[in-house]
Symmetry: C2
Subunit: 207 residues, 2 copies
Amino acid sequence: MAGRKRASYERVVEKTASIGKAAVGLFRAKGYLETSMQDISKACRMSKGGIYHYFAAKDRILFFVLSGYMDRILEGLENELFAIAGPEERIRFVIRRHIRLYTRYQAEAKTLLHDANCLPKKYFNVVADKERKYYRIVSGVLDEFFGRTMPKKELTAATFLLFGMCNWIYSWYDPKGPVTPDDLAEMIYRMFMEGCGSIKNVHHPSR
Amino acid sequence: MAGRKRASYERVVEKTASIGKAAVGLFRAKGYLETSMQDISKACRMSKGGIYHYFAAKDRILFFVLSGYMDRILEGLENELFAIAGPEERIRFVIRRHIRLYTRYQAEAKTLLHDANCLPKKYFNVVADKERKYYRIVSGVLDEFFGRTMPKKELTAATFLLFGMCNWIYSWYDPKGPVTPDDLAEMIYRMFMEGCGSIKNVHHPSR
C-alpha cells in the first residue's frame, strides 16, 4: 500500500516536472501568452486531458515553474551562507551561486523576468514574496559587509545594482562562449568590490 | 502651397507622436500583445480608421515607438562625447545621459526590453542595429578609458555589466523616490569606477 502511494506520488512529481520543463522551454522561446495548451501538449507528448489532470489551467503551469525556480534559488541558501567565513567570501559565493543557477535554468530565469506579470494576482504575490526573501538575504550579506553602516537607500541601490549586473546577462551572455559562468561570476564580484579596473587586472597578472 | 505642405507635415508628426505616446503607455501597462487597436483608439481619442491612416498595423506603431526611442538615445551622442574632455568624464556623462533618458522615457524603455521581439524580423533588425550602434559607442568610451588595452571579452563584459546596472533600474528604481536620477547615475558611476565601497563613501564625508 505504502509502495503504491509512493509510486503514485513519484508519478505526480515526475509528470508535473516534465510538463513544467516542456512548457517553460516554450514560454522562453515564444512567450507565455503565445504558448497554447496545445503547444505544451505536443512538446511534452501528453494529451491535453492528461495535462489538465495535473494543472487546472495554463497559469498554474506558469506558477509551478516560477515558484519552483524561486524555491531552487532559496533552497539551502541561508545554511550555505552560515557555513562561509567572512563577508567578502559570502558576497563572492552569492554571486557565483546566482550565475550558476541562472545558467542552469535560463528558461525559468527569462520567463520570470518577462512573464511573471501574467500570473493571477494571488499567484504573483507568492512568487514576489520569494523574490523579496531572496533580496533580503542578499541585501543582508551586503549590509554585513558594509559593517551595517550603509544608509538604507545606498544599501538598496548597491543590492539592485548587483542584481542588475547578474540578471542583465540574459541579454548578452552565452555560457558556451569564451567566458565560463564561474569566470563571469568572478568578474561581477570584482566589479562590485573594486570597480571595472579590477576586471582588467584579472588578465594583467603583472599587478 | 508651401504653407499647406508644412501644415500637413506638421500634422503627421503631431498625430503619429500622439498615437505613439498613447500606445506605449498601454504597451507598458498591459504589454504589447494584450493591447488592441481598439484600446489605442480609445487612449488617443481617435477612430481606428484615423489611426490606420497613419499606421498600417499595430506592429508599425511598436516600431515607430522603439525606433524613435533609440533615435533619441543616439541623437547627438557622438558630438556630445567629442566635446567632453577626459575618458572618466565621458563615462560619467554616458551614464548620466542614459539614466536621464531612461527616467524620461520609462514606457519606451520597458517596452523595448519586453516587447521588441514582437516586431516583424525586418523591423526588429532596424531597432537591433541602433542598439548595436549605441553599444559600440559606449564600449568605445570604455575602451578608451582602459587605454585600449582591455582584451575583447573583458571589454564586452564590462560594457554589459554597466548596461546591466543602468537598465535593471526598471525593476526597482522610482525617479520620484529618495534618490534623484542624477544621484543614481553618480552611484552607478562610482560603482563602475571603484566598486561598492565608493557608494558608501558618498555619505561618509569623514572618509
